[in-house]
């Protein structure tokens, strides 16, 4: 009998079947693959941006376009977007803390950090709304770009168009992230995950949230820095 067991023994290595090779439940795996595909969505948009920028001989100067903040008119290049970026990254930190609290199954703390994350998300969206309306007020829209190129030629319209489309698409991601975070928060408060015995859902939305923040770093780099 023992020899039978040996020859028919099924090796129990991670890839041998009968278990998840990464010890990750399927939901998280699916989130990873979704994010991977979203990477391609954003990459396509940002590469398009790059192509447009090189196609146009010159391009508006970000330091000049983005130099205002609420109460400050001009001469404060990138201050406001720096604050926005800081807020978003900070909300990623609170999300990490929420996930960590979930591991300890501490409901009260999960709630606290989730609430802070949601506030961070809303603040970011509000900042974006202010910036959009400010730029629209200055005359930038989908048909027109008032900001001259660096070499003094009339501003490339694609600058404004891509700005609105890409930051809008990213903002839409943030917005859905906030909504999902709220749903999860409601579930946390209702005790759904406490009964389930784990806070995996918080981890999954956490992945999404970090991803959205990471994308912002690239959007930020493309539009504001280079």
């Amino acid at each position: 009998m023992s020899t039978v067991a040996q020859i028919d023994e099924v090796k129990s290595n991670p890839w041998g079947g009968g278990r998840s090779p990464f010890s990750v439940e399927y939901g998280k795996l699916m989130m990873w693959f979704f994010l991977l595909s979203d990477v391609f969505t954003f990459s396509a948009l940002l590469i398009f941006y790059g192509a447009m920028r090189f196609k146009n001989l010159s391009w508006p100067e970000p330091d000049y376009v983005f130099q205002s903040a609420p109460g400050i008119h001009g001469n404060a290049p990138l201050v406001f977007v720096g604050i926005m970026t800081f807020i978003l990254i900070f909300s990623s930190v609170t999300m990490v803390l929420a996930v960590e609290a979930g591991h300890r199954k501490s409901k009260a703390e999960v709630i606290k950090w989730m609430v802070l994350t949601i506030i961070g998300g809303f603040t970011f969206l509000s900042c974006q709304a202010w910036e959009w309306s400010h730029l629209i007020h200055e005359g930038m829209n989908l048909h027109h770009n008032p900001f001259l190129n660096a070499n003094g030629t009339p501003g490339a319209v694609q600058f404004g168009q891509l700005f609105f489309v890409i930051t809008g698409f990213h903002g839409f991601h943030v917005f859905t992230g906030v909504i999902i975070n709220i749903i999860i928060l409601v579930n946390v408060i209702a005790g759904t995950y406490e009964r389930r015995g784990h806070y995996n859902m918080v981890e999954k939305v956490g992945l999404y949230w970090h991803f959205v923040d990471l994308v912002w770093v690239f959007v930020f780099t493309f539009f504001y820095l280079v």
Partner: protein, 638 residues
């Protein structure tokens, strides 16, 4: 068969968690047939929707073939069925373009992507890897319903005033970006884009499900290298889809802004009716880059599942192990990787820098290598096999034939210097119809014939199957082969009436010949439809393992049950290609038969021993002492 694992109580664990949720499950009509979350039912839904879409696409093709063959004749029935688009019995030129566009879209996306992957990935992934269902049955259901909605939206564009999209399945701007460009660029194009957005969502949900299922849900013992090649093919296909479709999505977003919000991403310096549009600085070529970054992987999304299905069917029906199992996996991997870096071969004539063109030419020609590896492995598997010509096998062999023919013309087109002449001619039409319209469709039909007993628990009629095969095979070659010569003569594709040009008048008789062949081929499909739909109800009851196959799906009961296996999920001990293993009692050994039960056929390699065979001793190994006559026999067989 005594297949339960003796040695692994752990396998039991694995299933329990799963069974749990299903215990108090009330089956109503709605959740059994409509909003089903069962992978087998979803597979049937995909298949039947795919077949309906295929019939629609086929009818369209006959309509525009009639126009090409008899451009001056009036066909009163056209007016009857098409109304104003067939006024006076003549096909409206704009409607001709719509038919071509929607025919291509339906066939490429709805039939050969969703219909093929949706059906067979859903059916076979859980079955063949030994899982109760998909990783997320709910997302799986959503995936089908998004696909269904996409189909409805696409078809609905035939019922609007201005007609469906008509800029070609590749929807290049500016035709697609300017609603005023042509009738089909208006609402029809909008519906096309809406439909594709739904389609992309469906394909994404399906894809991440397939990937997660393959990675996470394999039964005990089903290591990646014991998986049937079908699963490998579906796995890579899903990866391609998950990474390529989002790029189309981005392209579509930008296109929508150009269409509806006046941006100029793809538009520059355009005049309509002598009037200049305000758009400047955009580039239509960038759309082509984004489109073909999806578009080329897309053609492999279409062919790879068909190749996977063929591997399985050819091995089963040759009663031989597949030749070069690992080479097959590596070539699938190679194709997956390379297909992301060849898209430029669709754009050689866009004014691309010739150096860049030569890079794309290089990668394109390399992709022929893994394709050829697969072909040779099929041939080697067939070689001296104990071949059973079931209808499925006929179609699988047909695939190999078409894949060779189409692959060779792919090499012509991959050469930039040849493609500059051949681009946008009928040569390209011939190429891609032979690889997709024939090879991939044959793979899909082979799969239907082969797994019909598993899908519906009934058998199809073989005689009708053979007749269907020969009609399809012959007419497909008669239709598409001559198109190469038209292409070499420079006949352009997508023309309503190219025989009006003096230099192409001579092709009119050939056009008529092709159309007649196409009509005969289409009639052949009626045999299939009859065979398919009637036998769902009236077919002979299928045995559990009608083809004496090794894979796990044939260990499930004929009647579908929730969770697939009534008891424990079988454990897997061996790969799925133990056909005609020397010394075995039967000419097949299913994957779930342990080695302790097959002492007479075990080889030293099965024990991980690769040295001198005569030195090997093991309780469960019988050295094969060949008698002289056996040896002679073996000699002859080799």
């Amino acid at each position: 068969m005594a297949t339960q694992a003796i040695s692994n109580p752990a396998a039991v664990h694995h299933d329990h968690a799963h069974d749990h949720g299903h215990e108090h499950h009330h089956e109503t009509f709605l959740n059994k047939y409509v909003f089903s979350q069962d992978h087998k039912m979803i597979a049937k839904q995909f298949l039947i929707t795919g077949i309906i879409m295929a019939v629609i696409g086929m009818v369209f093709s006959i309509l525009f073939r009639i126009q090409l063959a008899w451009p001056d004749k009036e066909f009163p029935f056209l007016e009857v069925i098409l109304g104003k688009w067939g006024a006076g019995g003549r096909l409206d030129p704009n409607f001709y373009l719509s038919l071509v566009t929607i025919h291509g879209t339906i066939m490429v996306f709805f039939v050969l992507t969703a219909g093929l992957s949706g059906t067979f990935s859903n059916l076979l992934i859980p079955y063949q890897i030994g899982a109760r269902d998909m990783a997320s049955p709910f997302m799986n259901m959503l995936s089908y319903w998004f696909f269904f909605a996409a189909s409805v939206v696409m078809c609905s564009s035939f019922f609007i005033q201005t007609g469906p999209a008509s800029g070609g399945w590749t929807i290049y701007p500016p035709l697609s970006a300017l609603p005023k460009a042509m009738p089909g660029s208006g609402l029809g194009m909008t519906l096309w884009l809406a439909s594709m957005a739904l389609f992309i969502a469906s394909s994404l949900m399906g894809g991440i499900n397939y990937i997660s299922t393959v990675l996470n849900m394999r039964t005990k013992g089903m290591s990646m290298t014991k998986m049937p090649l079908t699963i490998w093919a579906f796995f890579f296909t899903a990866i391609l889809g998950v990474l390529a479709f989002p790029v189309l999505f981005s392209a579509v977003i930008l296109l929508i802004f150009d269409r509806s919000f006046g941006t100029s991403f793809y538009l520059s310096d355009i005049f309509i009716g002598g009037e200049a549009l305000p758009n400047t600085g955009g580039s239509p070529i960038l759309f082509q880059h984004l489109f073909w970054f999806l578009g080329h992987p897309e053609v492999y999304i279409i062919i790879m599942p068909a190749l996977g299905i063929t591997s399985e069917i050819i091995a089963t029906n040759s009663r031989k192990p597949i030749f070069g199992y690992r080479a097959m996996i590596i070539s699938l991997l190679g194709i997956t990787f390379l297909s992301f870096i060849v898209w430029g071969h669709h754009m050689f004539v866009t004014g691309m820098n010739p150096f860049l063109g030569s890079v794309f030419m290089f990668t394109t020609l390399i992709i022929a290598v893994p394709s050829a590896v697969k072909t040779f492995n099929y041939l080697a598997t067939l070689w001296r096999g104990n071949i059973r010509f079931t209808p499925a096998m006929m179609f699988a062999v047909g695939l190999v034939s078409f894949f060779i023919t189409g692959g060779v013309t792919g090499l012509f087109l991959g050469n930039a210097s040849l493609d500059i002449n051949l681009h946008d001619t009928y040569f390209v039409v011939a190429h891609f119809h032979i690889v997709m319209g024939c090879a991939a469709i044959f793979g899909m039909l082979a799969g239907v014939y082969h797994w019909y007993p598993k899908l519906f628990g009934k058998m199809m009629n073989d005689k009708l199957g053979y007749l269907h095969f020969w009609m399809t095979f012959i007419s497909a070659y008669l239709v598409f082969f001559p198109m190469h010569f038209m292409g070499l003569d420079g006949v352009p594709r997508r023309y309503y009436e190219f025989t009006e040009f003096e230099q192409f008048k001579q092709w009119l008789p050939l056009n008529q010949f092709i159309t007649i062949a196409a009509i005969i081929g289409a009639l052949g499909q009626l045999l299939f439809l009859y065979n398919f739909f009637v036998n769902i109800f009236r077919g002979k009851k299928a045995p559990q393992n009608p083809w004496n196959s090794n894979t796990l799906e044939w260990t499930t009961p004929v009647e579908h049950i929730h969770g697939n296996w009534p008891g424990e999920i079988p454990t897997v001990y061996r790969w799925s290609y133990d056909y005609s293993k020397p010394g075995a009692v039967q000419d097949f050994i299913p994957q779930n038969v342990p080695f302790s039960e097959t002492i007479s056929s075990n080889t030293p390699e099965d024990f991980g021993y690769h040295g001198d065979e005569t030195q090997f001793v093991h309780e469960f190994y019988q050295a094969k002492h060949l008698t002289v006559s056996d040896e002679q026999k073996a000699e002859k067989a080799n």
